[in-house]
């Protein structure tokens, strides 16, 4: 899609087809001859891993929908029937449930990689924004899907999340009732959640196509953040990256299979094997692990509406990130201060997840000695989360002095990440270049 196509149809049929629907050419230019920076590391394999995750979820989901009954009286029993009586139903359901977690594991790796190497910066803003849209859709799909087995956590999770909309002034109550399709979470809610849960993966697939399209116009970013300058900086996608991605995908599948076959319940919550009961509130309502950081942000604010706004702002801020980071240097490899703030950012996201899993007034181990409970921890980390995007990244661009960078990707591959010494023949150290 960028540059000239090198595809040459070799048979009469492919010549005939190419003149009418150049779909083979599209595939060739996108996944065979596509020029890819030669220095991509394993952090860059998560894109391929994520497309495998999406396909696995869609295929297992379609089979599960053949056996699942979206009715509050039968949903829980139908899931039990899938586990007990449907041929390999236990396997398919386990893959689907574990698959949701693996999908999020991979997407978090993918997002953190983008944050570290500055993949959101020009000319990849649209690519990044489409990625955030996919992430939002994934969260919606995961939440809706978690409601379907109609266990205690399904029901009460749906209750908590839908009630958040009740915090909106004036329209809160009608919006909540519109989402429910009634006056509480009930059969109508389950039916529409099932319908939407089936819809969203196809929306995701559509945005993924746009995401890949937006990737293939500017091409991949890379660990140096330096733009591709000559063909010596790149390798054709196939076979170099098909084989590298393939290896990474299989290693990922090993971990995936480890959970599916040896610990299918460890990522879920035991309470969801208790059938939903509107009259019994679980001792603790917690979302799945991948949504816990947002739960901690929600609870960090004493006001309900404020919490809801902040929770959505935590994702909203990602949309404007390309314009918040003022540094001319993409990769944090050459940003001595930013990489530390990034490290703390990763730690604070993990800490928020931990805070989201605990009761707010529980004391934090070790820090509890000085009176720090999980509410306070959550608040401090929430402040850091927003400060990273709204204060640190905007200011760093002005105060940070980037370390010298190699002149090109080729040079960084051949001579290491330090700039070439004079006389090495690889060109002089360039002055700071815009947007690298």
């Amino acid at each position: 899609m960028s540059g000239n196509s090198t595809y040459e149809p070799k048979t009469p049929f492919t010549r005939w087809l190419d003149a009418r629907l150049p779909i083979v050419r599209l595939g060739w230019d996108s996944f065979v001859d596509f020029p890819t920076p030669r220095n991509l590391n394993y952090w860059y394999t998560f894109g391929g891993i994520l497309s495998v995750c999406l396909m696995v979820q869609i295929i297992t989901g379609i089979v599960l929908a053949m056996h699942y009954v979206p009715n509050i009286d039968y949903a829980f029993a139908s899931v039990q029937r899938i586990d007990r009586d449907v041929n390999y139903g236990w396997l398919i359901r386990s893959i689907h449930a574990v698959g949701a977690s693996m999908f999020f594991l991979a997407v978090y790796m993918h997002i953190f990689r983008g944050l570290y190497y500055g993949s959101y910066k020009a000319p990849r803003e649209i690519l990044w924004i489409l990625g955030v849209v996919i992430y939002l859709l994934m969260m919606a799909a995961a939440f809706l899907g978690y409601v379907l087995p109609w266990g205690q956590m399904s029901f009460w999770g749906a209750m908590v999340i839908t009630n958040l909309f009740g915090a909106l002034p004036l329209i809160g109550e009608p919006v909540t009732q519109w989402l429910w399709g009634g006056f509480t979470v009930g059969n109508e809610t389950l039916n529409r959640f099932f319908s939407l849960h089936y819809l969203i993966p196809f929306l995701i697939a559509g945005v993924v196509v746009l995401h890949i399209w937006a990737l293939h116009v500017p091409g991949n970013n890379n660990p140096t953040g330096i733009s591709v300058k000559t063909s010596a900086d790149t390798l054709p996608f196939h076979p170099y990256y098909t084989v590298k991605d393939g290896f990474a995908i299989v290693v990922f599948l090993l971990i995936f299979a480890g959970f599916v076959f040896y610990a299918p319940d460890v990522l879920g919550h035991a309470d969801n094997y208790i059938e939903a009961n509107p009259l019994v509130t679980p001792a603790m309502i917690v979302p799945e692990w991948y949504l816990l950081p947002f739960y901690a942000i929600l609870r960090a604010v004493p006001d309900k509406l404020g919490g809801v706004i902040l929770m959505f702002a935590a994702i909203g801020v990602l949309f404007v990130l390309p314009w918040l980071d003022t540094s001319k240097v993409r990769s944090m490899r050459y940003r001595p201060m930013a990489r530390w703030f990034f490290g703390f950012f990763v730690v604070s996201c993990l800490g928020l997840g931990w805070a989201g899993a605990e009761l707010p007034d529980t004391l934090v181990p070790v820090l509890g000695a000085i009176g720090v409970d999980f509410l306070l921890l959550g608040r401090v980390l929430t402040i850091y989360y927003f400060a990273y995007f709204l204060v640190i990244l905007p200011v760093l661009g002005f105060v940070e002095k980037p370390t010298p960078r190699p002149a090109s990707i080729e040079e960084s591959v051949l001579y290491g990440d330090k700039p070439a010494k004079s006389g090495s023949g690889a060109g002089a150290v360039p002055a700071a270049q815009p947007a690298e």
């Binding site: 039990q80 599916v260 309470d271 070790v366």
Partner: protein, 273 residues
């Protein structure tokens, strides 16, 4: 920078140490037991599952349902009566409906049904019938149990934190004096393993109350262990098939990973990287 790394290391260790405590609440952690079904190669002990089924039938089933299970499940692959002794010969049945032991178990139950002329009848159970629920409805169950609703046991081991260890400890956890500050009302019992430490279920297992078909001595601990073993099977009937398939899948994927890594090295040896 060095200090920082140390601080981060401490934080990471804290997370690892504290993680198991998540969701613990106010009750005693159950006593760990060395189950035969634990671990990547663990299997159910068929004898223990059979004995546990006997305990369920003779004790638990008075109040607790098993509504997601049918009699035929007992004779399916991985079930306690998959292979049975018929006239002194060990037999296995691909179709549990043909299994005489399953048929005999089912026939001991009376199942309400509707006959050809629309009359409500009670007939002997068949292997395809689901386990009958001990009460007519939830209200009757509550009325008979001082307001408490005995939970269904079909997936109880998966539905509780600490799974089998919790169930076993709970069943044996009645022999202690309650702490002075705990208010135990009539019809409630002290059990330190129950979240909140107060349980509506009276102690159920007494030494020798079940006469095991295989002659095992029926101590409280033996019965608690056996019935938990049965309930673990009921919650996860395909566990053995899952682990067997898992082994094959892991071997296959590992081999594929080795081949792909070798291909990767070969392909990339053409270029400097």
């Amino acid at each position: 920078m060095n200090k920082l790394s140390k601080l981060l290391a401490v934080a990471a260790v804290t997370v690892m140490v504290a993680a198991p405590a998540i969701g613990a609440g106010y009750y005693r952690s159950p006593e760990p037991y060395d189950w035969s079904f634990e671990g990547p190669f663990g299997e159910y002990d068929r004898q223990a599952v059979q004995r546990g089924f006997q305990v369920y039938q003779q004790v638990c089933s008075a109040c607790h349902g098993l509504k997601h299970l049918a009699f035929r499940h007992l004779g399916q692959e991985g079930g306690p009566f998959e292979t049975v002794m018929v006239d002194g010969v060990e037999q296995s049945y691909a179709n549990p409906n043909d299994n005489p032991v399953i048929a005999a178990i089912a026939a001991e139950y009376l199942i309400s049904d509707i006959d050809d002329i629309g009359e409500t009848i009670e007939r002997p159970g068949r292997p395809s019938d689901m386990f009958p629920y001990p009460f007519a409805n939830e209200a009757q169950a509550r009325a008979a149990n001082g307001g408490a609703y005995p939970p269904d046991l079909s997936i109880i081991v998966r539905a509780r934190h600490y799974g089998a260890d919790y169930i076993r400890s709970l069943l044996m956890g009645y022999d202690e004096e309650p702490p002075a500050d705990l208010d135990i009302r009539a019809g409630s019992y002290y059990n330190p393993y129950m979240p909140g430490m107060v349980i509506a279920m009276a102690p159920q297992l007494w030494d020798g109350m079940v006469e095991y078909a295989d002659g095992t001595e029926a101590t409280t601990e033996q019965m608690a262990t056996d019935v938990t073993h049965f309930l673990a099977w009921a919650s996860n009937p395909h566990m053995e098939a899952r682990k067997r398939m898992g082994l094959m899948v892991m071997i296959y994927l590992f081999g594929l990973a080795v081949l792909l890594y070798a291909s990767y090295r070969k392909v990339w040896s053409r270029v400097k990287h």
